[in-house]
């Protein structure tokens, strides 16, 4: 770091008590503790959640510790610990993307105004990051791993170093990813990259899935060894690799692995410092990139496909929704993830030969999720909508527009994925049946999604990387998971019909009936769901506005 943005702030010489000599680290740790305490004091629900998770995690950590100690001496102990640690590292890297609440207490961008140099700040924030449930759990895992693989005094000595290094690498990894992600989502350029992060998550999840399947198929721990042989060179697992190497007497390898871990830590810290400095000096790069008037002109005119939309409220809403899918980073990355998972799960599974045509329903299931919390996606701009809804009829038009926008993407996509999956599996006879099921499921998701949008709205914070504000986590869970269970129940008749046609004699000849029946059932569910949701929406406008304005 050559440029220190804040040095010119204090005009007076930094004498005793100047910003250079403040003991920043204890200060920030105490700040984090009091933020944590105040957050818990605020609501009994949050306190309960926090205490429950603390107890559960501690219990799990202790069990794991015992398990790892029991593993000592086992032939596969080294592979298992290395793999566990690699998974832990992966968890730390991915966690800020999904559960940023894990370290919400310290948002470095809040410290922008203070005259702090990046280096002490990073040190202090890193120390503060070590306070919490996650680091405690990681510590237990690391200690257990060292006990399980270390043989001899030298190994235990290296083990202490390994524990410290491993923990710091994990925490630094999480902070670096979180900071990078914040930058990603706050800059306008980043919205295209946000799509990428969705894809990475989808593909990564699929790989973990395959790994688990392989392991299950092999029926033993042997297939772990080659994977572990690679992973023991990847920090933070490299730290445990070093302990294992010392136990086996290969000191050169141990030194290399320790060095690698230290280098990773240094690299992560440098990356984090860089992102942090840029976050703090240029918090709003978005305004720099002015729109291209000519290009916008073309896109802005209601030309081309937009003209095909129905006039009136429905068409207006469809147009706006589709624009948002493309332009709003949060919406865009949610769609990208859904689209990616929707095709990856059925197609990859088909390619692996483990698939079933029924996996194709994943596409409509994943995309149907986008119907949930429709108004939360508007943020407090929902007031514009609220001001123009004065009757259930307006609300119905609004909901229909949003459902139509979703269908414009989802219907062709789900059909395509289903056809692709059946083609890969060569199960053409099943195509109508699976399509019918897909449509029924989509209808059920749209219906429940519309209803829960009206009943359980919640805010999606626009700044930063969170998807739910802490106070509304409960509502979000009810909305999405309750909605999905309801959708599954609603599509049960279609599933039952499919099963019945498959098991009954001669039923296969009539399986094509499921296509029109499923489509009709899905359409009926959608119409009904929207009709039920509309009066609720119209009656609850101020409550919805309040709920979605917390971001």
């Amino acid at each position: 770091m050559t440029t220190v943005p804040t040095t010119d702030v204090p005009a007076a010489p930094a004498g005793p008590g100047g910003p250079g000599t403040v003991r920043l680290t204890p200060l920030v740790v105490r700040l984090k503790l009091s933020l944590l305490r105040n957050g818990l004091r605020q609501s009994a629900g949050r306190r309960a959640v926090y205490l429950t998770s603390l107890v559960l995690v501690s219990l799990f950590a202790v069990l794991q510790l015992l398990g790892l100690i029991a593993l000592r001496g086992n032939a596969h102990a080294d592979s298992v610990t290395v793999l566990l640690l690699a998974l832990m590292g992966l968890g730390w890297a991915v966690m800020p993307l999904f559960f940023p609440g894990g370290d919400e207490t310290l948002d470095p961008t809040r410290l922008v105004m203070l005259p702090l140099r990046p280096r002490p700040l990073v040190r202090a924030l890193l120390a503060a990051s070590l306070v919490g449930i996650g680091p405690l759990f990681t510590l237990c895992l690391l200690v257990g791993s060292v006990i399980s693989v270390a043989h001899g005094a030298a190994a235990f000595a290296v083990g202490v170093l390994a524990v410290v290094l491993g923990l710091l690498v994990c925490v630094a990894l999480a902070r670096a990813v979180a900071a990078a992600n914040t930058r990603l989502l706050t800059s306008r350029k980043g919205r295209d990259l946000a799509v990428l992060s969705g894809l990475v998550i989808a593909v990564g999840a699929q790989f973990v899935n395959f790994g688990a399947q392989r392991l299950g198929a092999a029926g033993g721990l042997d297939p772990l060894d080659p994977v572990a042989a690679v992973l023991r060179w990847v920090p933070p697992a490299a730290a445990i690799g070093a302990v294992d190497a010392v136990s086996e007497g290969s000191y050169g390898r141990a030194a290399a692995q320790l060095l690698l871990s230290a280098a990773a830590l240094a690299g992560l810290l440098a990356l984090w410092t860089r992102t942090l400095t840029r976050l703090m000096t240029a918090p709003d790069a978005s305004t720099l990139n002015a729109a291209e008037p000519a290009a916008r002109e073309k896109a802005g005119r209601a030309g081309g496909p937009a003209r095909l939309l129905p006039a009136g409220r429905i068409g207006t809403v469809v147009e706006r929704s589709l624009r948002y899918v493309w332009r709003d980073p949060k919406t865009k990355s949610a769609w990208a993830t859904s689209l990616a998972i929707g095709v990856i799960v059925p197609v990859f599974n088909a390619l692996q030969g483990t698939g079933s045509v029924y996996f194709a329903c994943f596409a409509s299931g994943m995309l149907g999720i986008q119907m949930y919390n429709q108004f939360g996606q508007d943020t407090s701009a929902f007031w514009t909508v609220a001001m123009t809804i004065s009757s259930p009829r307006d609300a119905l038009a609004e909901l229909r527009g949003r459902a139509l926008a979703l269908l414009l993407i989802t219907l062709p996509y789900a059909t395509l994925v289903t056809v692709l999956t059946t083609a890969l599996l060569g199960a053409w006879a099943k195509l109508p049946e699976v399509l019918g099921l897909s449509f029924a499921l989509l209808g059920a998701m749209l219906a429940t999604g519309a209803w829960s949008s009206a009943r359980f709205p919640y805010s999606i914070p626009q700044e930063g990387y969170k998807n739910v504000v802490p106070a509304q986590v409960g509502v979000a869970w009810i909305s999405i998971f309750g909605g999905m269970i309801a959708a599954a129940l609603l599509s049960a008749p279609a599933i039952a019909a499919a099963i019945w046609l498959n098991v009954s004699a001669g039923g296969e000849d009539r399986a094509w009936l499921l296509l029109p029946a499923g489509a009709a059932y899905g359409a009926a569910l959608t119409v009904l769901g929207l009709r039920l949701a509309a009066p609720r929406t119209a009656a609850r406008l101020p409550e919805i506005l309040l709920a979605v304005s917390k971001g």
Partner: protein, 252 residues
Amino acid sequence: MRVHGLWKRFGEQIAVSGIDLVLPAGRFVGLVGPNGAGKTTTLSMITGLLRPDQGTVEIAGHDVWRDPAAVKARIGVLPEGLRLFERLSGRELLSYTGRLRGVPGAEVDKRATQLLDVLDLAGAQHKLVVDYSTGMRKKIGLAAALLHNPEVLFLDEPFEGVDPVSAQTIRGVLERYTASGATVVFSSHVMELVESLCDWVAVMAAGRIRADGPLAEVRGEAPSLQEAFLQLVGAGGRSAGTDLDWLGGGGR
């Protein structure tokens, strides 16, 4: 416009405690009060964006909460602290809002062009609103509120962050608009502005109306609205400078 017994509390805090207010039609009404007085809360409840705990609001003879269709068609709102659809360009935002309001498409486009011209936003009409400055956001919000030619306009701090030239333009637009019989209710902290624009003033403090009526009546004996305001909210004697003696002078 009539407000009766309006009441709202947030947890422990009573933001608005029993407001009764009758405002004449066709006037320029100013709502003033210190920070946290409850102006935004009151305006949100009047415009149907926030459900009051108690009380009724009647605009042009229609109850806001019982007959929202009649009221919402007649009012325009520029709220404070709420977002716009920021990922639309200025023109797209106007076109979207106008069509949601049920104004025919061609008419929306015509009015949007004129409003963008008058408010000096024509050059930025294809930029996304997310890239607008504070004052530009106020102006595009005002344009969206005017688009459907409402009978009553509610503006929460419309001049905040607006440059002097645009402020003059906005004044001109609003004055012409009230002259044709429409009503404007706006909140502001700039007393000079309120004094020169409004012919009716309501002063709020701590969730209550301290005074309301024609400008001259509220001002009373005081030389200016500023003085009258300071007396009404009980801040006449408070002055800076007794403490904070370390402030300034170059030391630390």
